[in-house]
Amino acid sequence: MVKKSCVVGYYFTPDSFLEASARVRDRKFQSWDTFTPFPVHGLEEAMGVKRSWLPYVSFVAGLAGLGGGAFLTIWTHYFSWPMNISGKPHFALPAYIPVIFETTVLLAGVTTVAFMFTYFLKLPNYFKPIFHPDLTCDRFAVAIEVSGQEEAETVRKFLRDIQAAEIHEVEGAL
């Protein structure tokens, strides 16, 4: 098996980076990504990534929280151990709404973040290469995964064509 490596092209302004990113997108590489210190406006289009389907996860988690909260309140007070407290009905739905609302928000919020980090971003993962320490400061990069020297050369040339200010090659998969 051929060893994988990444050819990384660096940019110093968001504008030149976005242009380059769009060019990389149009070449339709198998595996590539960009690295930026902050969410650059317009990056989704420049990378051609689809809208995240994370909202559906939040919605389902919210429904689960809603159902769980409703079950907790109604089951404890109506089925498990009905108690008469100041004559309030056992099935007092309006009084349960605050608790149901809170469980909905809690489950939706925590699940959204947990799912985003673990499923979409595959984090925590401490073993991926960090191409350059300035990528979380003031550098922007496009990284293209290549296998073999020949492919690396082609990609290097391509990155030079799209005006990368610096080009590095880093061992390891993207």
Binding site: S80, P98, V105
Partner: protein
């Protein structure tokens, strides 16, 4: 340039900074030894906090009778201060969630510290109901629905006090998650700047291995927006539910439908005042004046003015409704509040601090005057503590049975615990300023004017 930017006359970041300078300036307090001033403030806060916890321990050992809570004012200082601290937290969520949804770019410089303030304020708040129970080791049994062998006997979900438990604990969790999500990219920045291995390890672990991948940012931004969307109704629900503790009861002066909006406005009012107090100090001590600019402070002062008037309106409407309802008890309580022999002094402190002094913020020169806004923000904080004091004390001290009327005042133990909670708040805030980036670097960079030409740095 879009329309919003065209209307921005003042830059959000002053001094024409580069991205690198932003990282340098924000990370400086983390990467250098703290100043003498920081040590002095920290030691003072830590001492006060330790005293507070000592007093709480002593109070629990001897019994909560040491506090001023007696019949008929059984809620006393504990619930007053609980509501006060929960209210303080609300500005943080408003800035991080609601202003985010409204695309208010100026929030980027202040959201991190405001969210930190939220978390610490809710932590301070949480202590008080626990002490108030007298036996906090039973709190799991009183507060959370856990399966038990007494029936099982469940907590009463029809009680607003239980709604409160759920609201405040959800609020705390979601605020923490929101804060941490925002912190991850900045922690990665600190990790990548780190010179020694301890720092690299600690911030590396905390930043989860974040690399700033473009595909990642896509999901990250969606998650952030969803969290903001969830936190927005949450923040409104929390103080509404806190107000239900009062409004659902049948006590004159509490049993009104205006309480939820009135409490939410008051919470945002007091919270913004606390943010101004803290940021005026923080921008001075950590030299962040170019990021937390007068424009940010002025905007916050405008919010203080607006919410202050909402609160003032609520005070007026309460009086009108008390009269208009024709209920003699309601009328009596409100007359007692404002002109009675027990608490008129507290009522007028509240009105002067919350309604009268914020009116100075109509003047632009005062909105942009650091000394003036610092004094006014502290005055608002005092006023808002007194608002809760007035609500709790006046309605309970004069109950339905005149023979049980009794004047409530804070004991020295109450005062000690109250001051101790401020010690805890400032201790946590100072630690935050020392160890975490106080300004959301990634967010500030995204609203800065981008550099126009390719430049190389060493």
């Amino acid at each position: 340039m879009n329309t919003a930017q065209a209307f921005d006359k003042e830059p959000l970041v002053e001094g024409e900074k580069t991205y690198r300078q932003v990282s340098d300036d924000v990370c400086r307090p983390l990467e250098s030894f703290p100043t003498r001033l920081w040590y002095v403030c920290f030691l003072v806060s830590l001492t006060v906090m330790t005293m507070g916890f000592g007093l709480i321990g002593y109070m629990i050992y001897k019994g909560v009778g040491m506090s001023g809570i007696r019949n008929p004012v059984n809620w006393g200082m504990m619930i007053v201060t609980f509501v006060f601290w929960v209210g303080i937290g609300h500005a943080g969520t408003l800035i991080s969630a609601i202003l985010f949804l409204f695309r208010q770019n100026w929030r980027t410089a202040i959201n991190r510290s405001a969210e930190a303030m939220t978390i610490f304020a809710v932590m301070c708040a949480g202590i008080f109901p626990l002490i108030h129970t007298g036996r906090p080791w039973y709190s799991a049994y009183w507060l959370f629905p856990y399966p038990n062998q007494m029936g099982p006997l469940w907590i009463n979900f029809r009680s607003p006090l239980i709604w409160d438990v759920f609201a405040v604990s959800t609020y705390f969790t979601i605020s923490l998650v929101f804060w941490y999500t925002g912190l991850v990219p900045d922690l990665a920045t600190v990790r990548d700047r780190a010179k020694n291995w301890v720092r690299k390890l600690v911030y590396g672990v905390l930043s989860l291995g974040w690399r700033g991948s473009g595909r990642g940012w896509n999901h990250y931004e969606v998650a952030y927006t969803i969290l903001a969307g969830l936190a927005t109704p949450l923040v409104i629900s929390v103080h509404s539910i806190v107000s239900f503790d009062f409004a659902v009861s049948l006590i004159p002066g509490w049993h009104t439908t205006i309480f939820p909006p009135y409490f939410v406005a008051g919470a945002i009012f007091s919270g913004f005042a606390m943010v101004v107090t803290l940021l005026v100090i923080a921008r001075q001590v950590f030299n962040l004046k170019e990021y937390i600019t007068l424009r940010h402070l002025e905007n916050m002062n405008k919010v203080i003015l607006a919410t202050g008037m909402l609160v003032g309106l609520a005070y007026g409407i309460e009086f009108f409704i008390a009269w208009y309802s024709g209920v003699p008890y309601e009328r009596f309580i409100f007359m007692e509040r404002a002109f009675g022999e027990y608490y008129a002094w507290a009522y007028w402190i509240m009105v002067s601090c919350n309604v009268i002094t914020p009116q100075f913020f109509w003047f632009k020169s005062i909105r942009r005057n650091i000394v003036f806004m610092f004094i006014l923000s502290i005055s608002v904080n005092i006023g808002m503590w007194f608002e809760r004091f007035v609500i709790v004390a006046t309605s309970l001290a004069n109950d339905y049975l005149p023979s049980s009327w009794r004047y409530f005042s804070l004991t020295k133990w109450d005062l000690g615990v109250l001051i101790g909670s401020f010690g805890m708040f400032f201790t946590l805030f100072l630690l935050f300023c020392r160890f975490l980036p106080t300004i959301a670097m990634a967010e500030v960079k995204s609203v800065m004017p981008p550099p126009q030409r390719e430049t190389h740095h060493g």
